[in-house]
């Protein structure tokens, strides 16, 4: 099927909206748009970061998910207490595949779940005493933890527990940073506010810890990698490129990151942010307070990697710039071989994406390197500035959808008929049962890394093995197939 024209896409949106009641239709219409590269400001064509409509199926998470799962969770040498009922912590444990090195349970705690397991009596009488006891127990059992964060779940805000007071008291007692985070799930419209709250907690409780301490030897090429969550090892495959360029990576927030790395970040020369949506707040703060500039980069696919490496190098002197060219040249043969191998198998395939807050625009370049075309993209919890950046990346007359509902996504897919969908686990089985190849783009479908040149090889292989998997030809029962279809596989195998 050829690409849809602007009118056809608009008609498609209208058709999908048709089933909604009047009020819901009016609201949802603002979140669906046809991309127009000439638009400078996304707020003129799409509304984002608004409350989801009751009654529609959204895949958004909550503020707790944004803070515990995304920003704080991957800080591996701290213990993150899911303060409240047991479920939030249990269901968010270790599903994100942010890898780390260390001995779990000894000096790192990434895949463990710590919770205060609220019962009725804690709701009625308050949970502060329990929290106090829990922190003492943690200290007894895991003395090598570098700090503790208290991630509030909904009841904490509802009953008005004073976790800050407990944190201050215990912090003094144990001589360790204890960070209370007010990320109750009901705050905000999606996990996005949780990112912001978590960033503010880092600003208030972590960033200033080493002000005035000059014992850290600063170098001229210090950088910090911020917002690379090391999904399947992403941060490692990014880090080697930066190190080959001659830069010194002082901190890795927050994939395989540590508390002391975070504390040292204000001393670097440049902050590199991969996930703008979840980490721009702290970068802005460091720019204002410490004068550390920040820039966004994108390590998906060779085109964007080369672009980003050059952009990063431009901040430094000629040695680094020359090194950047050497690094790009070094990997050229490698990625050209990958493109030569997979491009013929993937050329012209059409992709629809719907992921969190960054990948819907970052992976477009990687798909284009493989000759694939992204025909629809959207975010769960992006804001206007994300769409500003997306509009330029996407082709004209492609679909943009914000906080898409289950129904809309299915209808769009039925009409647009993409060759591949990249989205989350909640969408995966619906679309696979509809017979459409699917990749889980939150945790790379148990694969990865996808960042960097090494990651691109895995990305290309994964896309190929998903799209060209023979199972998609077996979707119809043999007795329902027509005579021609039956003849085709025989001819192919002959």
């Amino acid at each position: 099927m050829s690409a849809l024209t602007r009118e056809e896409t608009q008609a498609l949106i209208q058709e999908v909206l048709e089933v909604y009641p009047e009020k819901a239709k009016k609201d949802r219409a603002k979140h669906l748009a046809v991309n127009d590269q000439s638009v400078e400001q996304s707020k003129k064509c799409i509304t984002s970061n608004r409350k989801s409509l009751p009654g529609v199926m959204t895949v958004r998470g909550c503020a707790y998910a944004g803070s515990k799962g995304v920003v704080w969770g991957p800080i591996k040498d701290m213990i993150h207490i899911s303060h409240g009922p047991v479920g939030c912590g249990a269901y968010s444990r270790a599903g994100r595949r942010n890898y780390y090195v260390g001995h779990t349970g000894v000096n790192t705690f990434g895949t463990m779940n710590f919770t205060s397991d609220f019962q009725e009596k804690d709701i009625v009488f308050g949970g502060d005493k329990k929290l106090d006891k829990l922190i003492s127990e943690i200290e007894g059992l895991f003395p090598l933890s570098k700090g503790i964060s208290i991630q509030s779940e909904c009841p904490i805000g509802l009953i008005g527990d004073d976790i800050e007071a407990v944190a201050k008291k215990k912090s003094k007692e144990l001589d360790k940073p204890i960070v209370p985070v007010r990320c109750e799930g009901f705050r905000g419209v999606s996990q996005s506010l949780g990112h912001h709250i978590a960033n503010d907690a880092i600003r208030d409780w972590v960033i200033g810890n080493r002000d005035g301490d000059e014992s850290f030897q600063v170098g001229p090429y210090d950088v910090a990698v911020i917002g690379d969550y090391n999904i399947g090892g992403d941060a490692w495959s990014s880090r080697i490129l930066l190190e080959e360029m001659g830069l010194r990576v002082v901190a890795q927030w927050s994939g395989d990151g540590t508390l002391s790395e975070m504390e040292l970040t204000p001393k670097v020369k440049l902050n590199l942010i991969h996930c703008y949506r979840s980490m721009n707040y702290i970068s802005r703060h460091m720019e204002e307070k410490y004068g550390v500039p920040w820039m966004e980069y994108n390590f998906f696919g060779p085109t964007k990697i080369a672009e980003s490496l050059r952009k990063i190098a431009a901040f430094f002197d000629e040695t680094i710039q020359a090194n950047a060219e050497t690094v790009i040249a070094k990997y050229t043969a490698e990625y050209e071989a990958i493109i030569a191998k997979y491009r013929p198998r993937l050329e012209g395939k059409r992709v629809m994406l719907y992921v969190g807050g960054l990948r819907p625009r970052h992976v477009i370049g990687a798909y284009e390197d493989l000759g694939m075309e992204v025909v629809g993209t959207g975010y769960e919890f992006a804001h206007n500035d994300d769409y500003d950046r997306t509009i330029k990346e996407m082709g004209n007359a492609t679909l943009l959808y914000d906080d898409i509902t289950g129904y809309e996504f299915e209808e769009f897919v039925k009409k647009v008929k993409p060759d591949l969908i990249g989205s989350g686990i909640k969408e995966k089985y619906i679309f696979q049962k509809m017979g459409i190849p699917f990749r889980q783009m939150h945790s790379w479908d148990y694969s990865g890394p996808y960042h960097g040149y090494d990651g691109f090889a895995i990305f290309a292989r994964d896309m190929d093995m998903t799209i060209n998997n023979p199972c998609w030809k077996q979707m119809q029962a043999p007795w329902q197939q027509s005579a021609e279809q039956e003849a085709a596989p025989l001819a192919a195998s002959a």
Binding site: R284, E287, H383
Partner: protein, 72 residues
């Protein structure tokens, strides 16, 4: 009177960022912008107008300042 963070973008334009409102706009014009003071009426590219009492000497960007709505 929102708190506004003013910073320069790559092109050298001033950006007007209000974290609470999730709004980031480019500043189109500033009434007073010379070696002695900075401020007065500020117009953004989206047409909205804001006001800040002139600051002397001009602040170093990025910085956070309190602005008033210009149409008040």
């Amino acid at each position: 009177m929102p708190n506004v963070m003013i910073r320069k973008n790559d092109a050298g334009d001033l950006l007007f960022y209000v974290a609470k409102k999730d709004m980031e706009e480019t500043i189109a014009s500033v009434e007073l912008d010379d070696a002695e003071q900075w401020g007065g009426a500020v117009e953004l590219t989206d047409g909205s107008r804001w006001y800040i009492d002139p600051i002397s000497p001009p602040p170093a960007f990025p910085t956070t300042l309190r602005f008033k709505r210009g149409d008040e």
